[in-house]
């Protein structure tokens, strides 16, 4: 044993949950019965997992620069999504399972801050934000966001003034929600594309606020002065 391998043997991490075993069994039956093929399943999974938060960012940025679109977005979210190429009925014609088509955008104001959670499971506006982050699905976030929202927001680094109403939306039925943050100062004259870059996933969940010097790709310490002012591209 002179050639000791530098780590403990790699184990399968954890066991399949009952729900995962059930999903596998039902999936195999459905494939055997010819309801869909294994390839259909793989392609659908790939499609679902390749959605990101970019659609949501586009919606917010467009609403910031176009008041008429903002009105349409707040009135009928599902319809307004089509204007930026997002169709909630894709890819099956009925939408993705459990997403349905009732989409509501929650507008933040100087006196109101919205945040979303699903205490029962992990309902999330996947067609516009993609798959939810792991922490969003944890019992810890779900349990504590409804009961101690200000404390949880503070753990994300977001401290809100006592006169700002924190409104938690517990997404327990068929509606899906997304937060529209306020456009930050220092973004005057920006293009829709520049604006979309600072509307990150967490801003649309409601655990963060957009900053002109911070995108999902770049934190302030790495930003060059011109980018911090929003003038440069990502070259």
């Amino acid at each position: 044993m002179s050639t000791t391998h530098g780590h403990a043997p790699i184990q399968e991490s954890g066991q399949l949950s009952e729900f995962e075993v059930l999903e596998l069994a039902v999936r195999e039956l459905a494939i055997e019965k010819g309801l869909f093929s294994a390839e259909d399943h793989r392609r659908f999974s790939e499609w679902a997992e390749s959605r990101g938060p970019h659609g949501g960012s586009k919606l917010v940025a467009k609403a910031w620069v176009d008041p008429a679109f903002k009105e349409r977005l707040l009135t009928n979210g599902t319809e307004a999504c089509k204007e930026v190429g997002l169709n909630w009925l894709e890819p099956t014609g009925q939408g993705t399972p459990s997403d349905y088509t009732f989409f509501y955008v929650l507008e933040n104001t100087p006196k109101l801050h919205n945040v979303i959670v699903c205490t029962l499971c992990s309902c999330y506006p996947r067609p516009v934000l993609g798959m939810s982050p792991d922490w969003y699905r944890t019992p810890n976030y779900r349990r504590r966001m409804v009961r101690w929202p200000r404390e949880v927001l503070a753990e994300f680094g977001l401290h809100l003034s006592p006169d700002v109403e924190v409104r938690v939306h517990d997404s327990n039925q068929k509606s899906r929600f997304m937060v529209m943050p306020m456009r930050p100062e220092g973004t005057e004259g920006w293009s829709e594309e520049q604006l979309a870059a600072i509307v990150t996933r967490d801003c649309m969940i409601g655990v963060a606020l957009p900053r002109p010097d911070w995108t999902a790709q770049q934190v302030p310490s790495q930003a060059t002065p011109s980018q911090a002012k929003g003038k440069g591209g990502r070259k």
């Binding site: 205490t119 009961r147 200000r150 517990d170």
Partner: protein, 99 residues
């Protein structure tokens, strides 16, 4: 048309927790205000068991609670609220039952 309208004060019933309800334990017995209505949907109690065509359909309501009513030891501020949705049979006019 549903039984409740925007502005009505309603209390969430503390009914049986058997099977699938989608009515959270923390909301049961709490009183809030109807702030929006939703289209009629099949209730989760039937949908969960695949009773789709003949399942019960009910109007749904968005109810806004003051956090301090929901949690007696709430540590935030008076302005804080929480919203969630309930089918009509889970609601009753406020004041009919104490928590």
């Amino acid at each position: 048309m549903g039984r409740y309208k925007i502005g009505d004060r309603v209390t969430v019933r503390d009914a049986t927790t058997l099977f699938h309800t989608r009515t959270q334990g923390y909301a049961r017995g709490s009183t809030g205000t109807v702030v929006d209505t939703r289209p009629e949907w099949i209730v989760p109690e039937d949908e969960a068991f695949g009773i789709l065509e003949n399942g019960r359909h009910e109007p749904f309501y968005v109810v806004r609670f003051n956090q301090k009513e929901l949690w007696p030891d709430y540590t935030g501020f008076d302005v804080d609220t929480l919203e969630s949705e309930f089918s009509e049979s889970w609601l009753m006019p406020a004041g009919k039952e104490r928590k």
